[in-house]
Amino acid sequence: MRSIVKTVGATIAILSATLALGWWQVDGPFEMRTEQNFRSSLSNMNFEMTSHLGKVVSPEYLVGNPTMFFFGFTYCPDVCPTTLAEISTWIEELGDLANSLNVVFITVDPARDDVKTVAEYLSNFNSKIEGWIGNSSQLAAAGNFFDVTYQRKESEDGTYTMDHSSSVFLYRSDGTFARTIDYHEPREVAVPKIKRTISEK
């Protein structure tokens, strides 16, 4: 009997330690220190782009609702469609909670991705996802504000691909930066992060 109590006790202890560690890594003090303080608020991001629907858009205009940003390009055969498919399932899982959420995909390859191509590409994914296309200086501004890296990489065969940051950036409805979702994080981690961002008014 005593050994059962011991085992249960040890299991609870291990579980709590794991949960505490997870909290500390995901949104504990560590996150506050490393990210929140030096990321711009959306209200300071004074650059404009064109949406896949042809409208003039800017992060400033999104303040008032929570927003999710991520980067990619349509010539990308693997990681971008996989991310878009993944994000589409997150939106479905959020259901009504996603109603107020802005979801923005910014292309890092404006040389090949125009409004029409991005619109056609996005028609295959959840319709909440908005595509933004900027010229190279608008994209550079976005890169600076989001602290996102993108770089053209030549292939041996004369074509090129774009190396780029694969994280998803979450902003609260007041425009402040909340947290990121990293590329390999599973849905069980990603969806609660979005929910938390939506609830933090």
Partner: protein
């Protein structure tokens, strides 16, 4: 004439019986005879101007190593094997794979976000619910044809959509 025909067929069937066991031995000798392919699928393409990717699981069912040296198809002039790698800073990049080495019994998985078969310069778009074939070419020049069903652009595995 009829007699001749029946004699010919007799010779042919004798030849067939005589050679079929050695043919299956030959099958075991070549690399394409020792690979099992499962769960193949490709993602529908945006027209022909954008590249897309195909995925599958390979397993070496023999007791000798196998090397996949190339993948070819009539649907595209340019197919290559790649790996998507995300570094510590979260930057994703693609690394070409020259070949795939499979030790006896070993499995190799092409899966979204990791190893993939990149299909560029499509001659025609890959349309959802259609099929096409890919050819695996092995180090010993033997080949294996793989039927690949096309799933929607939002698909993440063969099990979904």
């Amino acid at each position: 004439m009829i007699k001749n025909l029946s004699r010919t067929s007799k010779i042919l069937s004798t030849l067939f019986v005589a050679f079929s066991p050695s043919m299956s031995v030959a099958e075991d000798m070549i690399q394409s005879g020792r690979v099992q392919v499962q769960s193949s699928w490709a993602r529908a393409s945006v027209g022909t101007m954008r590249p897309t990717a195909a995925y599958m699981t390979l397993q070496n069912t023999g007791d000798q190593p196998i090397v996949v040296s190339a993948i070819e198809s009539e649907i595209s002039g340019k197919i290559s094997m790649h790996q998507t790698v995300v570094n510590a800073e979260g930057i994703s990049t693609m690394r070409p794979l020259k070949s795939i080495d499979l030790a006896p019994g070993e499995k190799f998985e092409f899966a979204p976000g990791n190893h993939h078969i990149m299909i560029m310069e499509l001659k025609k778009a890959l349309v959802k619910d259609k099929k096409f074939s890919l050819k695996l070419v092995f180090e010993d020049k033997s080949e294996k044809i793989v039927e690949v069903p096309v799933l929607g652009m939002g698909a993440r595995s063969l099990g979904e959509k």
